[in-house]
């Protein structure tokens, strides 16, 4: 079996509020970047699949050199190797452009039985890369996956987390699986793996390597264009402090406001 984990390097969540629209639009957020937290679960699951069924787990990401940090984190956790996909032509790709590059990357690497990725990225928030890659590869798509129950030569059985409950689904391989946090607890890298991963040389594949022409990817191919970015307008709020002699009095006054003034209850 072969597993490919798709991951993204994103700003550290603690630093997200510090990023300005100008920085974000320029593609240089100027803050610490880490592996997209949602993707850590995908990496962990990719390693667990290898431990359960044998095979190889490959970490893959589209992005400039700085992305190597996230790929090295994946290596430190236990991925066997890493591949980076980058070309100036990829810049400005929308989610489908990104999905196309990743799909080509997977094919170039000899394909995979299971492609794993996190639910979404903490910066783009589209949560559609898995859908795009499955579509471009023409393979099964399984989303909201909270458990991989079984993998056979031909099929994968998973539990999906719905708003209404848990659903068990069987789909043919190959499959793209997007995982949710409930699926596992990502491991810490061991120090030995950190030492080795920090020295890893990660190969880069360009548009030409992937057989992509510049028109197919990047800003020109994007079907969605970002035209503006702004900080959400802070809501003007003036707090009304509710006074009263007893908790009961305060509770009653609050409910008066919520039910009769704001009409929200």
């Amino acid at each position: 079996m072969k597993y490919i984990v798709l991951l993204k390097q994103t700003p550290d969540t603690a630093e997200l509020p510090k990023i300005t629209p100008e920085q974000a639009l320029a593609g240089n957020e100027g803050v610490t970047k880490v592996m997209n937290p949602w993707d850590e679960y995908a990496v962990e699951e990719g390693i667990r699949l290898k431990e359960r069924y044998g095979g190889e787990t490959v970490a893959m990401s589209m992005g400039p050199e700085e992305v190597n940090e996230a790929l090295k984190s994946a290596l430190a956790m236990g991925c066997d190797r890493a591949v980076r996909l980058w070309d100036e032509a990829f810049e400005g790709s929308d989610v489908w452009g990104t999905a196309l590059v990743l799909a080509k990357g997977i094919e170039k690497d000899g394909g995979a039985d299971i492609v794993l990725t996190g639910k979404m990225s903490v910066d783009g928030n589209a949560g559609a890369v898995a859908h795009g890659v499955a579509c471009k590869l023409g393979v099964s798509l399984l989303t909201q996956v909270a458990k991989i129950v079984e993998v056979t030569e031909e099929t994968i059985t998973v539990e999906r987390l719905l708003d209404e409950g848990r659903e068990t689904v069987v789909a043919p391989l190959p499959a793209v699986v997007s995982v949710v946090k409930e699926i596992n607890e990502p491991r810490y890298p061991t120090f030995i793996r950190i030492r080795k991963a920090s020295r890893a040389k990660i190969p880069v594949l360009s548009a030409a390597d992937l057989g992509l022409s510049p028109e197919e990817v990047g800003a020109s191919a994007a079907k969605v264009k970002w035209v503006n970015l702004e900080k959400p307008a802070p809501k003007k709020r003036q707090v009304v402090i509710i006074e009263g002699e007893t908790p009961e009095e305060k509770a009653a006054k609050l409910l008066d406001y919520l039910m009769n003034v704001e009409k929200v209850i």
Partner: protein
């Protein structure tokens, strides 16, 4: 963190240890500290990840990283809590590195390998009820009888006394010979006549385990003598060069935590209609923390670099330890002041930082001892003579060799 001391491996290590502290230590620490509880689960995870053999060569079961990495681990663990850095200080710096430096190949196989793998926990038993700074005043006796030494005596303020499996014990083999009469022994828990206990009621580092050890006619096989008979004082002091380095690095982590939390709080907390970060007397305290952090970082990692090069660093380590621990205490004090009444309660971390930081200006050489040491170096009254066995310099090939 961009700094010429650090390479990519160090950066990755720093991030991982920070995350570990953030996810494993910080959520639990208030309660562990309040209950004076040592958390073996965290210790177990540290062992599995490689904390306990961070700078031990791979062929002795370690992670094969360098001495700078030992500093980073100490710094970012103490950024979580002092208790866990103390574990690194005694297990890695004071015990394991002493075996790496002074031990025979057989001793390394027997003691160092399981320690580096985290299968056995090690500690360092030097101080006694009546001998702290005054090392030559220790009273524990070791008397050779055939192929064993018989140990009698009491050790006090021993970190991990109730947790460790392996003990590096200092005892007098020749009570008439002053510091030349001290020898070092590797002792395993369960040795006949050996008892340990925990001391409660410490001001800080309450989630650490500190205790006592009593030896009553405890036989120790002669092959467990570390170094030569009478070499114990040098072993103890050379081990302190490593222990103090981790204490200094850990103190840097305290300063870092004080600075980060003070900055966050000062921006969030408002008084007189504006964030308190706007007030210059608050800014002064923050500026001082930044200054202390930068100085401590320089001193600590310079000492780490010297260790990597195999250059004797007793003086540099002493000054790093002296400065960083005092700076940590001062920073914690300032951080509480910035946090106001909240800082005085355990709602925030800073009161714990103050309590924790106080210990480190006392152990592994009080500030007074380090003051005198520096004076003696400066006045030319003290010079470090080469040791029979020096701490081996970091050789990446040698350290990462796996056979």
């Amino acid at each position: 963190m961009n700094h010429y001391w650090f390479n990519e491996e160090h950066e990755m290590l720093r991030n991982v240890v920070r995350t570990f502290s953030e996810q494993e230590i910080r959520p639990k620490i208030r309660e562990l500290d309040a209950r004076e509880e040592f958390d073996r689960e965290i210790l177990q995870k540290m062992g599995e990840m490689g904390f306990l053999g961070v700078c031990i060569p791979a062929r002795y079961g370690g992670a094969g990283m360098d001495y700078i990495a030992l500093g980073i681990v100490s710094e970012m663990l103490e950024w979580g809590d002092t208790a866990f850095r103390e574990t690194i200080s005694v297990h890695v710096a004071l015990n394991s590195l002493a075996i790496l430096q002074w031990g025979t190949e057989e001793q390394k196989r027997r003691w160092l390998v399981p320690q580096a793998r985290g299968e056995k926990i090690a500690c360092y038993a030097l101080t006694e009820p009546n001998a702290g700074s005054d090392v030559r005043g220790i009273q524990t006796r070791a008397v050779r009888q055939g192929d064993v030494y018989i140990l009698n005596g009491e050790k006090m303020w021993i970190t991990l006394a109730d947790v460790a499996d392996h003990f590096l014990v200092f005892a007098k083999t020749d009570p008439q010979a002053g510091h030349r009469g001290i020898s070092a022994f590797l002792v395993e828990r369960g040795a006949p006549g050996m008892k340990t206990g925990t001391i409660h009621g410490k001001l800080g580092a309450r989630a650490s385990n500190t205790g006592w050890i009593v030896f009553e006619d405890t036989p120790v096989p002669a092959e467990n003598l570390l170094g030569q008979e009478g070499e114990g004082f040098k072993i103890a002091m050379s081990a302190l060069d490593n222990g103090r380095y981790t204490v200094a690095a850990g103190a840097t982590g305290v300063i870092r935590a004080c600075l980060e939390e003070s900055v966050a709080y000062a921006k969030q907390r408002t008084a007189f209609g504006q964030p308190i970060a706007n007030f210059q007397l608050v800014q002064q305290k923050i500026a001082l923390m930044q200054q202390r952090l930068d100085i401590a970082t320089q001193l600590v990692y310079h000492a780490g670099w010297l260790k990597n090069q195999g250059i004797r660093n007793t003086r540099e380590t002493s000054v790093a330890k002296w400065y960083a621990t005092e700076a940590a205490f001062a920073s914690a004090n300032d951080a509480i002041q910035i946090h106001g009444a909240y800082g005085y309660s355990n709602e925030y971390n800073v009161e714990r930082y103050l309590r924790n930081a106080k210990g480190a200006v006392i152990y592994e050489g009080t500030s007074e001892i380090h003051t005198l040491l520096q004076a003696q170096y400066a006045l030319g009254y003290r010079k470090d003579k080469p040791l029979r066995r020096e701490l081996p310099p970091y050789d990446p090939e040698e350290w990462t060799r796996e056979d």
